[in-house]
Amino acid sequence: MFISSQDSPAAFKDFTLVMPAVAVGNVGQLAVDLIVSTLNMSRVGYFHTDCLIPMAGNNPYASGKEDAEELHTPAEVYTAAELKLAVLQIRSPIIQMRSKKFRQQLKSWIKASGFSRTVVLSSSHAYQRDDQQLTSLRYLMTPSLLAASADALKELGWREMERIPAFPGVDADAEPRLCIPGGGITKGLYTDGCAEDLPLAVLLLFCSEGDNIPDAFALVNHLNDWLHLLDGQVSLELDFLPSLQASNQKQKFLFYSFLIERRTKQQVEDPNFLEFAVWQRHPSCTFLIEDTMVVKMSLNL
């Protein structure tokens, strides 16, 4: 259930809700982190549930020492009131056999809050695609949202997620059905949304496990093409800033905890190593090395 962290209850009427599905590559969750940090959204409450594995950690969006020690929980809600946008971030996996209960809790909250539409950011295994699914982005929309967004979809030229046979080649007469392998609760949310007439959309990318940051950027840019949250494209450019008060500042990346590579102290402080490591991932980056090792991923809008 939603518990507000402010003194006054949060108001979500007519807001757009963006939420991730815990899915392959954690792309939805990375994309939501990107949205929260880019739009500098503020936390308004917690989604306190028994369906997620408990975890706790310090502020992943910290910009400095002052806000570094803010505790964060597995599911939190952030808003950008000027954009009428609310975001639910989910940081840990759903406990086994509790997916249905979690979906029910989500649906109740969505209905009670009065969100005008819900967008689920998700992903699916790239290796389990049909021949017709060889391009990346797919969408799904419940009938109630489809009616309102038909023109926008036509302009964007997105492809709807295809229905594919359950056992290709084996049972040719079987009816094609919706399959989102590796997508977690995505399919469940969509079918529930259709059944209960919720205005819900799913935006997903086909991807594989690995460094999924570029996938997160791609997904956010697609979302932005539709919702127009930002003026420009979200891209990656490094700024090497002059050193701040804390001389021990190291790199901050938009990784989840298990993606941080262990480097020796020497490697971290060697500018050539850093340059090469980043260039490998983002060949189009240019950067200036100032006198220090304080690196900040800044999003150029």
């Binding site: 917690y46 706790a56 570094a68 997916s99 989102i180 997508g183």
Partner: protein
């Protein structure tokens, strides 16, 4: 994943499969599942005095709740605080799961979540947790325990053992730096922790995380002191690392700081017999 030596390792993958629970269950399956769920329910048993109080619709008065999760944390509290013999056992929590030792069934006597209350300061409660509480029981355990406590003015302190293998850092960690303490606190905790804060991208999981989440969401002052050690079993050097916490706890309860590190060895001997592989 098979390795060169023929062993099979289960590789951790972030991939998320669609649920099996969507498949239709017949009545027998459903009954089995229900019975299993009931068996895994967390039960709290209080002594007669506390039970009477709770039956009357009151909550247990508590200004300081100290939770020790793990053998080293529990042994530390036993050595420095509980040894003064001013403590009563007031209750225990039973949470049966697949890792419970046989002989400690749902109503078993060998339960390892014990609650102690100070005789002279009844508002101070200590809980030792040395058994495994499964993922699906953590939330329930926390809600049930805190449901019985009066939470206004409550401060929660959690001591938790962890392996240094779970600690992620960009710097090389040499063996002389372990064991070490790190802290995490809820927004309502205004005091200064006795050690540095847990750095990104590290997180805590398990019972300490469940308790801290509950306190954060309900604006209860709470701090978790996580001790990262390279020794997996009970170890006196690891236990000793919690000593700075005594300065904070000593305000509300009497602590026996005269006890030396050697005294902690009494608590260490039990598990060493099992591991004779590398004698």
């Amino acid at each position: 994943m098979a390795t060169f030596f023929g062993e099979v390792l289960s590789v951790y993958s972030r991939a998320v499969e669609e649920d099996e629970e969507e498949l239709e269950e017949n009545e027998e399956d459903e009954q089995i599942r229900r019975e299993l769920e009931e068996k895994r329910t967390v039960h709290l048993h209080w002594n007669p005095e506390v039970s009477e109080l709770l039956r009357a619709g009151n909550k247990v008065q508590c200004s300081s709740f100290i939770l020790a999760v793990g053998h080293n944390a529990a042994s530390f509290l036993s050595a420095y605080i509980l040894a003064s013999a001013n403590w009563d056992t007031v209750g225990r929590a039973v949470a049966w799961n697949e890792r419970s030792r046989s002989g400690t069934g749902p109503s078993g006597e060998g339960s390892a979540c014990v609650f102690y209350r100070h005789k002279d300061e009844p508002a101070v409660l200590i809980c030792h947790v040395t058994c495994h509480i499964a993922e699906d029981q953590l939330f329930q355990w926390t809600e049930k325990v805190f449901g019985y406590l009066q939470t206004r003015g409550l401060t929660v302190t959690v001591l938790s053992d962890s392996s240094v293998a779970d600690y992620k850092t960009a710097d090389y960690m040499c063996s002389s730096s372990t064991p070490f303490l790190r802290s995490l606190r809820s927004s309502a905790f205004s005091d200064q922790p006795v050690c540095p804060s847990l750095e990104q991208p590290n997180i805590i999981t398990g019972l300490p995380a469940a308790v801290l989440n509950h306190c954060q969401v309900h604006s209860i002052a709470a701090v978790v002191y996580q001790c990262y050690s390279d020794v997996t079993g009970p170890d006196s050097i690891t236990m000793d690392k919690y000593k700075p916490v005594l300065t904070k706890l000593g305000r509300s309860i009497q602590v026996d700081s005269s006890r030396s590190t050697d005294g902690l060895c009494n608590f260490v001997c039990i598990s060493e017999i099992q591991s004779n592989l590398y004698i």
